[in-house]
Amino acid sequence: MTQAIKFPASHSLPGPEDIARKQLPNGITVLHRSNFNSPSVVISGYVAVGSYLDPLEKLGLAHFTAAALMRGTKSQNFQAIFDKLESAGASLGFGASVHNTSFSGRSLAEDLPILVGMLADCLRNPVFPDEYFKRQQAQLLTSLSIRAQDTSEMSAITFDELLFGNHPYGRPEDGHIETIKRITRKDLAKFHEQYYHPRNMVIVVVGAVDAQTAFSIIENALGDWENPSILPSPELPLILPVTQSVRRHIEISGKSQTDLVVGVLGPKRKSPDYLVASLGNSVLGQFGMMGRIGEAVREKAGLAYDASTSLNAWIEGGSWEVSAGVNPANLQKAIDLIVQELKIFVQEPVTSEELADSQANYIGRLPLSLESNAGVANTLLNMERFDLGLDYLQKYSDKIMAVTPEAILEVSRKYIHPEALVIVSAGSAK
């Protein structure tokens, strides 16, 4: 039995009626939704610069550049930048992923001009002072040393490497110790000059400010940004599926727990398979106490505190992963249980009851994911990034309810091949 869930009219979901969208002549898209329930405001967005542009020998360059944007601009030094932000109780940060360099910030509504002004100055006029370059390089190298000891991060990085081969999805955005050591201050300045530009930039503003005010603050700060010297983007290699199972263990000494990732390629975010796979993923390892995987590995076998699945979908592809943290003595037992569940998952369709549970969960949790300004901003950003349309949330319920157990089986069989899995563990073998 399924039944659509209706929302009370007084609390409508964000849609074309209350999301304002504007495109600036230089290619920036601005989205806005107001919320006057709290005197705060968030901004969130990205520029189209990412680690796919990194030279292999300088992997981590986009990440390093993003992290260095706030170390000084033509008109403000590091101290002035953070004094202005922290005195206002505001925050702003940048980070690079494969396709984009994202930013997010928040402030009291009265300080939105300070926040947007700082965003624009850091994006447009960074000077990468030498002193801060060296200090930050030392910080990045330390975080990579810490990463090398982290079983969960090392298993995830190795998994991506084996799954995505020579596609940029297979490389860590924060690079490696030897590639970060090779990067110079000049590399950052050059990378910024060649690749930072306003075209395809998106910025979302949500909070206690009206659309007109938000638009004019952004136009003032970013409307005249141009970069005539940008280079064209390189072609990326195709992502090819693995044809037989690959098993890799990363030995890290002195660890009580081994982290395990088992997985395959998943659909792109824009693929019609995505929502179907997403509901399948919910049944497999998300719903309730982490779906079938949680039930088998944690609840029944008591093998792990954490055991669940995730579906990660990006522009050119994605991954479908099961992860768990287990005692080294139970590692093989956990792998066997997980592979067994994957086999069952592609043998028979999920039950209509399981699907109905996940459908109800997806629709019911929507207002919860939208309760904070950051939640709304993130949703608006995804609508724009993946061309979902401003009425996406309003049509969401119908799209979810249209998914059938047979469709999930078909899509799962397309991606999950139990004889061709990437299986990675990291920890101390006994």
């Binding site: 009370p8 505001a90 925050s91 002195g254 719903f287 008591g302 792990a304 919860l368 950051a374």
Partner: protein
């Protein structure tokens, strides 16, 4: 902050705090119990946290698996936390589904079954949770520092418990701990969101009103004397990174000094947030220790903070040392900065800035209904809700002279625990 909430005590002793918020069709429902690692005795460490896990294993009415399915189907999310002084369970639900939360929380306040086979499988899950924490290089250092900082008080123990105790605790121990702490007269119910208070009170009486008050049998610890000396703990382990940590005895939340230390924390290592959900933080790059250590190329990062607790707990500072520096050097620089604040009063502008930061963090936290419901119950665990509503005002009353005086009182280098994590060369 206005006191825009309703408080009522049911005949069975259950304290109820309600706050109507009509910004979204959501209700967040929290039950708080006055039990945590503070109430544990030797041999039974970790029992409160394990009991929290067992509360998800079902009752005759909602057997295991039925609970989480019911919540998730309605699009809700739920979780639980065990801390030093308290254990809490929450559900955030679409407003029209809130009866489910009332029904299941009132049910499992008294009717959880604690089946022996569930206890057995949960033992390995809890041990696995501990093993996950042990993977963090600082876990062993934290554990050793706490033991040194509290000679007798149970705050010395890890909330998750010692491995020995996790192997030794039995089903009847867990059940007895549950029965002697989970009763309406040892609990606070806090609900915030899209409801009418009169109607909600009626429902609360319907679900919780019939539960009998219980006989609370608990361990109330004696407060440890202030630290008498500087103690140094060195832990060696894998990796390439050196860490330096400090622990000073801090005042309990009900002490006015707590607010002075909160402002000191903001000045030393940046503002800490009371938000449990959402809100994010404010960076700490203009804080004194960041300036003295990271900007001076002594450290990679520095953080600090204190906990609001019933008994005096700790003010902790955690520093990641630069690979080209020795922890002793870093400690010296840090002490010089602390010494300055003991010698010379800070400016009023510094305090005003800390207050503005606290206001901003509250504004961010109040976007989120789950977080507002958390605030509605949390201060009741170590004080009253007014502790929270008066928070910013109390910070406002802190003066430069108070900061100087409390620096001298609480940050004496002769009364602290210094912890150093030294990476060992890998054995070939």
């Amino acid at each position: 902050m206005p006191a825009d909430y309703i408080q009522e005590k049911l005949d069975n002793g259950l304290l109820v705090n309600l706050k109507e918020i009509h910004s979204a069709p959501i209700i967040s429902h929290w039950v708080w119990y006055r039990v945590g690692s503070r109430n544990e005795v030797a041999g039974k460490t970790g029992i409160s946290h394990w009991v929290e896990h067992m509360q998800f294993k079902g009752t005759p009415k909602f057997p295991q698996g039925v609970l989480d399915r019911a919540i998730s189907r309605d699009g809700g999310f739920w979780n639980a936390f065990t801390f030093l002084d308290w254990t809490t369970f929450f559900e955030t639900m679409p407003a029209d589904k809130i009866n489910l939360a009332l029904e299941l929380e009132s049910d499992r306040m008294v009717n959880s079954t604690y089946l022996p086979e569930e206890v057995a499988s949960e033992r390995t899950v809890v041990i696995s949770e501990r093993e996950g924490s042990e993977n963090e290089p600082l876990f062993k250092l934290d554990e050793a520092m706490q033991l040194a900082a509290f000679p007798g008080h149970p705050y010395r123990n890890e909330i998750i418990g010692s491995l020995n105790d996790l192997h030794a605790i039995q089903r009847d121990d867990l059940y007895a701990h549950y029965r002697s702490h989970y009763c309406p007269n040892n609990a606070v119910l806090a609900i915030a969101g899209d409801f009418d208070s009169d109607d909600m009170l009626k429902r609360i009486r319907q679900y919780y009103g019939g539960i009998h008050s219980g006989e609370i049998s608990t361990h109330t610890p004696t407060v440890d004397a202030p630290l008498q000396k500087e103690e140094q703990i060195v832990v060696k382990g894998p990796g390439d990174t050196t860490y330096l940590q400090l622990a000073y005895r801090a005042p309990q939340a009900s002490d006015d000094d707590f607010f002075t230390i909160t402002v000191i924390d903001s000045l030393l290592t940046g503002p800490s947030s009371l938000n449990m959900f959402g809100g994010g933080g404010i960076s700490n790059k203009t804080s004194r220790l960041y300036q003295a250590l990271v900007e001076k190329e002594m450290a990679i990062s520095v953080y600090g903070g204190l906990q609001a607790t019933i008994d005096p707990h700790l003010y902790n500072i955690s520093i990641t040392v630069r690979p080209d520096r020795k922890p002793e050097q870093v400690l010296k620089s840090m002490d010089r900065e602390i010494e300055k604040m003991m010698q010379k009063p800070v400016s009023q502008a510094d305090i005003d800035r800390a207050v503005k930061q606290a206001r901003a963090l509250f504004a961010y936290g109040s976007e989120n209904i789950t977080n507002q419901a958390f605030w509605l119950g949390y201060p009741e665990m170590f004080g009253r809700y007014e502790w929270f509503t008066n928070y910013v005002e109390k910070l406002n009353r802190v003066t430069p002279a108070m900061i100087q005086q409390k620096m001298q009182e609480y940050f004496n280098p002769a009364r602290r625990v210094v912890g150093i994590y030294i990476p060992e060369e890998e054995q070939a």
